[in-house]
């Protein structure tokens, strides 16, 4: 299924090698900027990641610009149309109380997109840094950080958020994002720690150490980039995990509170009528799936672009 894309990518890869022997390469021979441009070029060279990026941008545009184009806002109620199927008037139909499904879906998507992406970003960053530092320094750093991770792992996350969330009521939803992220990083951090311990023994890390490069620099320059495949995959999984966690919490009345809406609250409300009034359910679900798919495509593309070995590995 992905064959044509991969072939194209391979050709691009060969192009890069080709330039090495032509005259133009010495111009951009040294320096970090060339590496960044190389990564960007590889990323652009893969059609699926471009599709993912376009999809993701489109979803953002839809979520944040769409409401200005729609005839109804998410707060309006049309008392002439209850439970109407999609029509030119109400593009996605209406709810039992006359809300415009298009408007509320977009509103929900705004929240879900921001919550999902932010939570994934924060939790993966924390996981990478905590895991790498624990694995690199070992000793007391490791014991302290892993004790914290273990503690968070044994705490019932759902219960804690449920108990704590009333305290945040009325506060900014960013606190909710931080709270979700705080319970998502531990397992990845442990994987990162294990991989760091083995990476640390690799000769290029040793070479850097014997060169006099400081430990934090080694972690950010050699260790984390070499774990980027794992971290990116983890981040893309976390996007969907965060959106789903938020869905679940919202379903029970924690997390996103009415009158605020998220895809999660919409899905939980619509699921009972999925068969009878499909527009209440499937538009929200469809957008959720497209969001997760787009994030995954971008993640795959980024992973291949960052990892110069990806090409040769697949060719084997």
């Amino acid at each position: 299924m992905t064959m044509p894309g991969e072939q194209l990518e391979e050709e691009v890869g060969r192009d890069e090698l080709g330039t090495g022997t032509t005259g133009e390469s010495p111009v951009r021979a040294a320096g970090g900027s060339s590496r960044l441009s190389l990564v960007l070029r590889r990323f652009r060279g893969s059609p699926q990641s471009l599709v993912g990026l376009v999809l993701l941008l489109g979803l953002f545009l839809l979520a944040f610009v769409g409401p200005y184009l729609a005839p109804y806002s998410y707060l309006d109620k049309d008392f002439t149309a209850f439970l109407e199927p999609p029509s030119p008037q109400h593009w996605f139909g209406t709810t039992p109380v006359g809300q415009d499904v298009f408007a509320i879906t977009l509103r929900g998507m705004q929240k879900s997109l921001v919550v999902g992406l932010l939570v994934a970003l924060i939790s993966t960053t924390v996981a990478g840094i905590v895991g790498a530092f624990a694995g690199y320094f070992l000793g007391w750093t490791d014991r302290g950080l892993m004790w914290l991770a273990d503690l968070l792992l044994v705490l019932p996350a759902f219960l804690i958020i449920a108990i704590v969330s009333p305290l945040f009521r009325g506060n900014t939803w960013l606190l909710f994002v931080v709270l979700l992220a705080a319970f998502l990083w531990m397992v990845t951090a442990k994987i990162v720690r294990g991989m760091t311990i083995s990476l640390k023994e690799r000769e290029y890390v040793q070479a850097a150490r014997f060169m006099g490069v400081s430990a934090p620099k080694i972690i950010f320059r050699h260790i984390l980039p070499n774990l980027s495949s794992l971290l990116i995959v983890d981040a893309t999984i976390n996007v969907s995990a965060a959106i789903l966690a938020e869905t679940a919490l919202s379903y029970f009345g924690f997390g996103v509170q009415p009158p605020d809406i998220s895809l999660g609250t919409l899905i939980s409300q619509g699921q009972t009528s999925a068969v009878t009034y499909p527009w209440l359910f499937f538009f929200a679900v469809g957008l959720l799936i497209i969001t997760v798919l787009a994030v995954n495509l971008v993640g795959d593309g980024l992973r291949d672009a960052l990892d110069p070995r990806a090409r040769s590995r697949r060719a084997n």
């Binding site: 021979a29 040294a30 060169m211 070499n226 990892d307």
Partner: protein
Amino acid sequence: MTQQTVAAPRSGGDPSAPVLEVTDLHVTFPNDRGPDVKAVRGIGYAVRRGEVLGIVGESGSGKSVSSLAVMGLLPESAETTGSVRLYGEEILGLGDRELSKIRGKTVSMVFQDPLSALTPVYTIGDQIAEAVRIHTDASKERAAARAVELLDLVGIPYAAQRAKAFPHEFSGGMRQRAMIAMAIANDPDLIICDEPTTALDVTIQAQVLEVLKTAQRETGAAIVMITHDMGVVAGFADRVMVMYAGRAVEVGQVDDIYYRPRMPYTMGLLGSIPRLDEGAEGPGHTALVPIEGTPPSLSALQPGCPFAPRCPLAIDACRAEEPAAEPVGRTGHLSACIRSGEIEEHGWSPQDVYPLPAIPEAPAAHVPREQRETVLQVEGLIKHHPLMKGAVFKRRIGSVYAVDGIDLDIREGETLGLVGESGCGKTTTLMEILELSRPQRGKVVVLGKDTATMTQRDRTSLRRDLQVVFQDPMAALDPRFTVADILSEPLRTHGYPAGAVHDRVRELLELVGLEPGHAARYPQDFSGGQRQRIGIARALALQPRLIVLDEPVSALDVSIQAGVINLLDELRGRLSLSYLFVAHDLSVVRHIADRVAVMYLGRIAEIGTVDAVYGAPSHPYTQALLSAIPLPDPHKERERRRIILRGDLPSPADPPSGCRFRTRCQKFLILNEEEQKECVQREPQILPLRGPAEDHGAACHYAERVEVI
């Protein structure tokens, strides 16, 4: 096709008829994403009973693939054509069921990695007994007894008990012996050995080769010996086939190949080997013959002779058509080169054919050693790893005596070779020096600064002058960095002016013989030898004074290795570097080092100038080590008397009392009881052999100079 028809000629057939005859064998691996990989392109050979055929070639030359094709062990996707006849019967293309009757019975195979070739969940004895029972109707008891017999034959001590051991309880050398036992279990007519000793240390290699010779004597089998080591073949094979890019480029009697090579590739291969038996004539000695370039890709072969791009004798006609193997010189000697006749006529040697690079002399070489500055001094260095037990409450149950008190020093412009078998503590020593931290005990002084009293700032600035080159050129370079990033990392770390970094990177690449335009590439776009050059360039970036080299050439093919050794030699002269050269290959050390220290179980057994130690080794271990190394010289190999050590390296967690080497020492055996007591009770110190005038000392109570090469 039944077993009988295959095996029938064994009894009645003509004894001079070949056991195995391979003709025009081709192996192609289809690749749906590009051109097919033509791994083997038409090779042919025949082996007779009792004959040993050596197949030599560098990695990727198709030598292993061809033998797997003979055994029918290639993956289904491989396309094999040609003919493989066992006693005249075609076996190529037979089904797995028919082949199973032959494999292990008429033909058996010894693989390179004995750990992955044995099943970890069965005992060694059971696995050998299984090999016996598959092909005969021996009873269980009979098979088990035969297994013990075989283990005894291959020299496993206490065979009856050891047969009950599992593969992980055996050392590498013992596993390989068990593999050989399994291979000869059914008295095969042909044994194919695929790099049987590559993964082993030299003293163990000598033991295993001895076992193979015994096995051949016992079974009278023909042996096909596949190896990259020209030395192993010299003493073992009757005939040699040299492979390059999937073809046999030269075939002949072992003497013809070694003394009268007529194909430039063979000549290069022989010239590129550092010789244990040829001492350096002072510093500024001769360079090795390097073969330029790298082997061609087997999926994109150009027309013409595949060696032409690397060949110093190539003419236009070479690029037109691939030459066939033509007879040259004495009977049975074939060479696939259109200029073989010319080489024969002029009697050219490798040194005549290949241009030798000039190696500049180090300026410090003329200053007597005592007057030169000491760049590294190690005194009584000790590193013990704790041996822990328990999951929750860890407690120390012992120590691994990885490095147990060693002394050495390196003067400016000098190379000290640190040699020893795996597990002797040479890498630990090196890491202790590189850490620049206070050692557990003893003293490390780098460029006049004691690491124990150093501040963090001193340490960082000292790292400029002390650099390292690692063994595995792939693992030593961050795969996510371009070459430019790799080379500029040390520069940026030590505050090199940002504007000058770019020029310095280009300069470094030129210095190590790489194209400066390749700076934007990633390490995996380079071959092994080129990667190692990048690693060397990185070490040179800050103009260090001492470079620590951890087995820098052992992961490379010989022809590539020669180029890297020449480069190291040249750089030392040009940049007045000092090297600490850690290696297990004593020939390489003899070529490059000025002084050598031989390590055994965490201690130095013998130390001195290269000429003194190699010329007249005094410690029994050095003698055994040197005598175990095969020479790429058939005459010398046949005449040499090997000192075969008993057993394996003892565990460094429990070294023997007194002299550590006494459990394996050949000299210990001929001492009388009184003298032996001394070895058991008192640990020998390194004593100068002929007074302080000569730089040569050995840690043996009964040191005695012996010539072994």
